[in-house]
Amino acid sequence: MTDMQTAEMADNNSPSTESTLSEISAGDGPPKMTTRNVNVFYGEKQAIKDVSIDVNMDNVTAFIGPSGCGKSTFLRCLNRMNDTIPIAKVTGDITLEGEDIYAPQMDVVQLRARVGMVFQKPNPFPKSIYDNIAYGPKIHGLATGKEELDQIVENSLQRAGLWGEVKDRLQDSGTALSGGQQQRLCIARAIAVDPEVILMDEPCSALDPIATAKIEELIHEIRGKYAIVIVTHNMQQAARVSQRTAFFHLGTLVEYGVTSDIFTNPVQDKTRDYITGRYG
């Protein structure tokens, strides 16, 4: 935690600033990813201000905050998706297993296989269900033959809870599935390349409650196998699926802590106002 961040939190009328400051860590176990003093600029505009946070395998980490608070921007730093935006500039340190992901020698394609991403709108390739899953392992050379590839496809679909629904129509188009199935297909696709971290950017906002519940159950099932970071507008969802919650506001990290504490007794007034619906 930098002095700058400390000062900022102290300014927030916190009755107990220390308890927030101690919560930079992700909890038990070594952090899978660490971020220190991350700043993101879009041209002149600073979208993320000095954010430091750790995520680990044991906990699902949720990022919450109002629109424009920077939570998606920050999420996209974790697998260098912001590289695709020419005016975006990222400073600070972000590591995956201790490796600087912004180091010149870092292979971004490999990085994005290790840190997979699921988007708000399901975006299956306009290919068969099978090919949607098989594509990643193929280009990353993860399978040596057809049999191994079949196994990866089956395992990934199993893990994503989709196997039973699609096993008899693997050659159908991925886009022919329902929205919820498409999203699970995208999660299976991310899983197929055996990532270490899965980033989810509002993965349920286009889904109905039943499809949402299935995704949430899936997150619960795969927790511990991958470090999971989820951005969500749905605070109940953050409360349901995560063990750690980070609240962002105007590009700063206001509070990061144990989810049950954040939703019952947040330290910062801003967090309280947001989660209780007083923000406005």
Partner: protein, 243 residues
């Protein structure tokens, strides 16, 4: 943050919360009144007033039900978080405790016809002061709720010791009176139960204070130091005599 005040973006949520706060204030006021009137009835041996206290307890019971219904509904519909959630949980519990306070007052009123000895029962003279303090604890615990005042809640909890001390004194005085006047034992026993009811009212006010503290701070009230009560050894384990 544009709005760090207490208003919610969804105004109907505030309406529900305000309605609940109003009802908690009302049930508190009615319970306080029941204590005062039951003691007034005792002092003047006013059987009509005593009967009225018993009758009016139904209103307290109804109010408790209304509070519980609206709290339940608000939790279900608004999915409250943080201090809102804590307040609603506290409201739910406080309504039950305050209803119980009403029951103790009703129980005192029910004993009024059975105590005919009046002032010749010496220890009775201590009861008005004890009831005044117990009543103040009820009032202040609910005031603390209305103001989200954890400090006042803490103070209420500490002041409960005064009520406990009163009970200890009355207990001794009643036992002495019983020994000296065996024919008064029946009435004196009722007197003792009344003192016990007041002592329990103080405890319940402390319970309210503890919930207020939790609602305000998000953590349990720190344990207070309690002086050893010599009557503890003689009492049944927290027996509730009220009906």
């Amino acid at each position: 943050m544009p709005n760090t005040g207490t208003e919610h973006t969804v105004k109907a949520f505030d309406t529900d919360i305000n309605e609940l706060r109003g009802m908690v204030a009302e049930i508190g006021g009615r319970s306080e009144q029941a204590i005062a009137r039951s003691m007034e009835a005792l002092k003047n041996h006013d059987l009509d007033l005593a009967a009225q206290v018993v009758e009016d307890d139904k209103l307290i019971d109804e109010l408790e039900q209304k509070i519980d219904d609206l709290t339940f509904q608000t939790i279900a519909l608004r999915a409250p978080m943080a201090d809102d959630l804590r307040e609603l949980i506290a409201t739910f519990k406080i309504s039950g405790v305050v209803e119980r306070i009403g029951d103790y007052a009703k129980n005192i009123a029910k004993r009024v016809p059975l105590i005919t000895g009046g002032k010749k029962l010496g220890p009775i003279s201590l009861l008005p002061s004890m009831s005044r303090i117990a009543s103040e604890l009820v009032r202040d615990s609910l005031e603390a709720f209305a103001r989200r005042d954890a400090e006042l809640a803490l103070e209420v909890s500490e002041r409960d010791q005064v009520v406990d001390d009163f009970y200890t004194s009355i207990f001794r005085a009643v036992i002495t009176h019983m020994i000296e006047n065996p024919k008064d034992i029946g009435e004196a026993a009722h007197l003792l139960f009344i003192a016990k009811n007041l002592e329990r009212i103080g405890d319940h006010a402390t319970n309210v204070a503890e919930m207020v503290y939790f609602a305000a701070r998000g953590e349990p009230m720190p344990e207070r130091d309690r002086g050893e009560n010599p009557t503890d050894l003689l009492e049944q384990p927290s027996g509730d005599e009220a009906s």
